[in-house]
Amino acid sequence: MKKSKILIIFGVIFVLGLIVYFPGRKAARSHVNYITAVDDHPLSCTSCHVYTSQNKWVSKMVNEDYYSPFNMVVSNDGSRLYVIAQDINELMVVDTENENVLNKINVGVHPHSVILNKSGKIAYVSNEWSDNVSVIDLVSSKVIDTLKTGNGPAGLALSSNEQFLYVVNVFGSDLSVIDLSTKEEIKRLTTGNNPTGTALSPDGKVLYVTSRRANMVPYGEPLISDLTIINDSTKTVAKYLGIESAYMMENVAFTPSGDLAMTTLIRPKNLITSIQVERGWMMNHGIAIIEQKEEGRVVQLLLDEPNAYYSDPFDIVISPDGKKAFVSSSGVDYISVISIDSIRTILAESSPKMLKSFSNNLGISSRFVIKRISTGANPKGLTLSPDGKRLYVAEQLEDKIAVINTESLETIGSINLGGPLRITVARQGRRLFNNAGHTFQNQYACYTCHPDNHEDGLVYNMAGKDMGRNVTNTQSLREIGGTAPFKWNGKNQSVYKQDGMRFSAILTRTEPFNHDDLDALVAYIVTGIKHPPNLMYNPDGELTESQIRGKEIYNRSVDNLGIAIPENNRCITCHPPPLYTDLKMADVSTLSDTDDPILFDTPHLHNIFSSAPYLHDGRAETLEEIWTIYGEDDKHGHVNDLTKMQLNDLIDYLKSLRSPLYDDDKSEVQHGTYIKSN
């Protein structure tokens, strides 16, 4: 009797279980199929609902605080390595002999670069997300001063007399000149677009500043990125050296004799229909060599090979004997070792026509690249020991520093900085994001078109159909988690679909990500990419008078004449906070003859100031142009009644929009990922 009761209870539970299980599983399947746009993705709830969760506790559980070494410098005696740990906002002091971390010094948010003064006693660290530079006394390992800079301080250099500090402002696209005696910025010089790297010539006469974005031009016009050359004595721009068909010049270095300057670069093929990857039809990676003499030539040479690409060259350093240059090919985990004498031979032997042709030749690298040394995940900053015998490589996504013997060109050590040993799903996703291994022949990584997880400011002809049609402006990947659907035509309902099958057929042209990798990539994109603070236009959430007036215009329902604006033509309707998108499709009458008839996915507006050019095909170089030139028909918001002053106010307000993350005091930013407070 008792037994039978138990049996009945179990029976009922079992039956109930079955009743719930089958339809439940069916529902889950159709849900997963919809999200992933395939029918074979494993039914794993955790991949979406845990790893992409922004819940504080869940996120803390599944993520880790990695160090992510970025740039570094060696002490004059070679015994210490000062490493920027970008994700934990610290400068790490490493003992190069015992290969251990001696000290960690807190600096500002998202530090970028570190340099030492000649005596080696003072370090300067640029804090990209704090708009300042930390001055550190290396004897006491204390921050002794903080110098205010422009927007997004990155590359650093001292003037030849060490009385001035040059700070490259990556977001402001300018260079702050700081008088170290008064600690005041005395001037700000306009540089190329989105600059980072800088170096002073050995004779101390000129400072080179690289730029990563090309100068803004209408689609179809040649791409030119500026190297800004600054006169150290007058502290004025001596020249903007236009580097043709190139961008993403991350860093620059001089030979010890000063006869050559060399910068890393990428040569994108955005003006050519992206119909194939074979034969370097999408991205090429290389260096520019700038002769430092009267009428000196500017020569570009590719680091790539016909069937192997060395994507995302980041740093470049030159050995003290001037014989070798080392480039970190960060997208393929290699150091490319360059023979500078071979480059001199190429320069001496070749006519201008030949040199021009070399800039597009995949075979030339075999004449000057003497070795490719493999490294850990995502090699970024490089630095050489004072005697030039050791090369240190910051393996950003490995939390390690590789040590390479510059004579044998073999890796002789690896300094573990002590980051978390566990590789989380999001961390794996970040590795995938930064690695070109998932593109045919490693030609480009996600990072290549989305530097800093943002966008490269270019317009591409992705050729979903035919050729020459449907050119599209690269979109930022920062905090896009809640902004589905994706792509300008809104055809992708999830990041899963965005990076799925069609992505591999049209873009990477190699095997699609497997399910685990896709889960990881999505987890990183959805949770790991946050906006920098909007320190230029909205540092503290307090709007200026003009921004407040602009906000009223943004929210208005009647125009200047008191006539009601149709609801679907108000800013606030399609771009409502907090995301500033209604996640719907819209016609803003910007379709061109070469576009297929589509509605546009309403983009979010966070940090919109940093996403020029604007509109789906990047036709608007500034926010103003959206309405002054392309908004005449009042279809993209009712604006034609606005005075110029009102339009300025509106744009001031738009520029103030920033991630809700920074508006919410309780929210906290976790390194490598971000979480919202509950």
């Binding site: 422009g150 402001g172 300018d174 005395i186 001037k187 700000r188 010089l189 306009t190 500026d226 007058t234 004025t236 721009v237 001596a238 020249k239 903007y240 230029m536 236009y537 003009s546 170089e621 500034t622 103003e624 142009e625 002054t628 030139i629 005075t643 110029k644 002053m645 339009l647 300025n648 744009i651 001031d652």
Partner: protein, 399 residues
């Protein structure tokens, strides 16, 4: 009031007659002389008979200006037109920039360096070929060009254009531009604008948010922690940088073409230029010149001073001296003494008329400035450059 007006006009007629007579003599003498002259000023005694005793004529630089006078006198004029290097004859503005001279013409920017002219136009990246105003940033060395079609930043060969379409700039018609530290100010046909080169942000000032009669602004200058804007019909608009407050200085007589009460304020509400130096604000109008010392205003007219004409296109103060570009020549003054440079209508020669109190002296200039309709001027050290409606002139300090 009528009597006052009549007196004013009778004075004008009298002076005009004197000047005409003098001019005819001057022309006769220099005209005769020019037949065998080279381009250097001739210093020699006049052979001419002169019945008019009120104006002393001389060819001797030592005979002019008493020792105490702070007034510089320029000569050795060299003129440039489209025939010898300028892209066009009509020059709107001139700016001395170290070793080179920048000239804004109707056909583009002309740069004079190492005795050679080079022209930059829209083909090179200029916003518009009509360059109306030029300033150079002391901080960055960038050249800012106000054109008829936008503002151009010219930085060592790179042109960047700001227009009302692609930026927050008020209007594309730019009459005046100045660099004030990290800020750049423009006076435009649609109000004044302030651009912060650090934040890349524009601020616009029009009749809506500043005491202007209308958004038409002609000139802007900086001094004493303030920005002064010459606003058409609005007199002078003063902006205090610290407080961000505006105030205006208008003609107490309103828009009347005559100055009822002397020195009661700016001589007219229709102002065409402002310049600040040595604690003086100089204001150009089409109806005379004003000077403001922060407390008192003083007016100057062609009938009661050495001013060539009340119709002043532009004013530029350098140290204690102001240079006025008028439709009848270039005048300069330290507030007491005057020197006016004119050109004869019929030949390239002309004269400098030196007015010290009631004493007038004429110094023959062979040649003189390029044209009497003067639009722009700049002075640095011992050199003066003058932009006219027919070419530009380069003069050297004689004394």
């Amino acid at each position: 009031m009528e009597n006052k007006g009549l007196r004013k006009y009778s004075k004008i007629v009298a002076i005009a007659v004197i000047i005409l007579v003098a001019a005819s003599f001057g022309f006769k003498i220099t005209g005769e002389h020019s037949l065998d002259s080279n381009s250097n000023p001739i210093i020699e005694k006049s052979k001419a008979e002169n019945n008019d005793t009120s104006i002393e004529k001389t060819f001797d630089i030592n005979n002019v200006l008493n020792e105490k006078s702070s007034m510089p006198i320029y000569g050795n004029w060299r003129n440039f037109t489209s025939k010898n290097g300028l892209p066009g004859d009509k020059a709107y503005c001139v700016r001395i920039d170290g070793e080179r001279v920048l000239v804004g013409t109707h056909e583009g920017l002309a740069v004079y360096e190492n005795e050679k002219w080079r022209t930059y136009t829209t083909k090179d990246g200029l916003a518009h070929n009509g360059v109306l105003a030029i300033d150079v940033s002391e901080q960055t060395g960038d050249v800012w060009l106000g054109t008829m079609g936008g503002l151009t930043r010219w930085s060592t060969g790179k042109f960047e254009n700001f227009t009302q379409m692609n930026s927050g700039m008020p209007n594309d018609l730019i009459y005046s531009v100045i660099c004030d530290g990290k800020k750049v100010w423009v006076a435009t046909g649609g109000g004044a604008g302030q651009y912060d080169t650090h934040t890349k942000r524009w601020e616009i000032f029009t009749e809506q948010n500043a005491p202007m009669h209308e958004p038409w602004t002609y000139g802007v200058c900086s001094g004493d922690g303030k920005i002064f804007i010459a606003a058409w019909g609005g007199g002078v608009v003063e902006y205090t940088k610290k407080t961000k407050q505006f105030r205006d200085y208008i003609d107490p007589d309103g828009n009347m073409e005559i100055d009822l009460f002397p020195d009661d304020g700016v001589v007219h509400d229709i102002t065409t230029g402002v310049s600040w130096a040595d604690d003086y604000l100089w204001v150009a109008t089409y109806f005379g010149l004003s000077r403001y010392d922060g407390v008192h205003w003083k007016g100057y007219f062609d009938h009661d001073s050495g001013l060539a004409s009340n119709f002043i296109n532009f004013v530029k103060a350098e140290g204690s001296v102001a240079f006025m570009c008028t439709d009848k020549g270039l005048s300069s003054t330290d507030g007491n003494n005057w020197i006016t440079y004119t050109k004869n209508d019929t030949n390239k020669n002309g004269k400098a008329i030196i007015t010290e109190g009631t004493k007038k002296t004429e110094l023959a200039m062979t040649p003189s400035i390029s044209h009497n309709f003067v639009i722009g001027v700049d002075v640095k050290d011992d050199v003066i450059w003058v932009a006219t409606s027919k070419g530009v002139s380069r003069g050297e300090l004689l004394k």
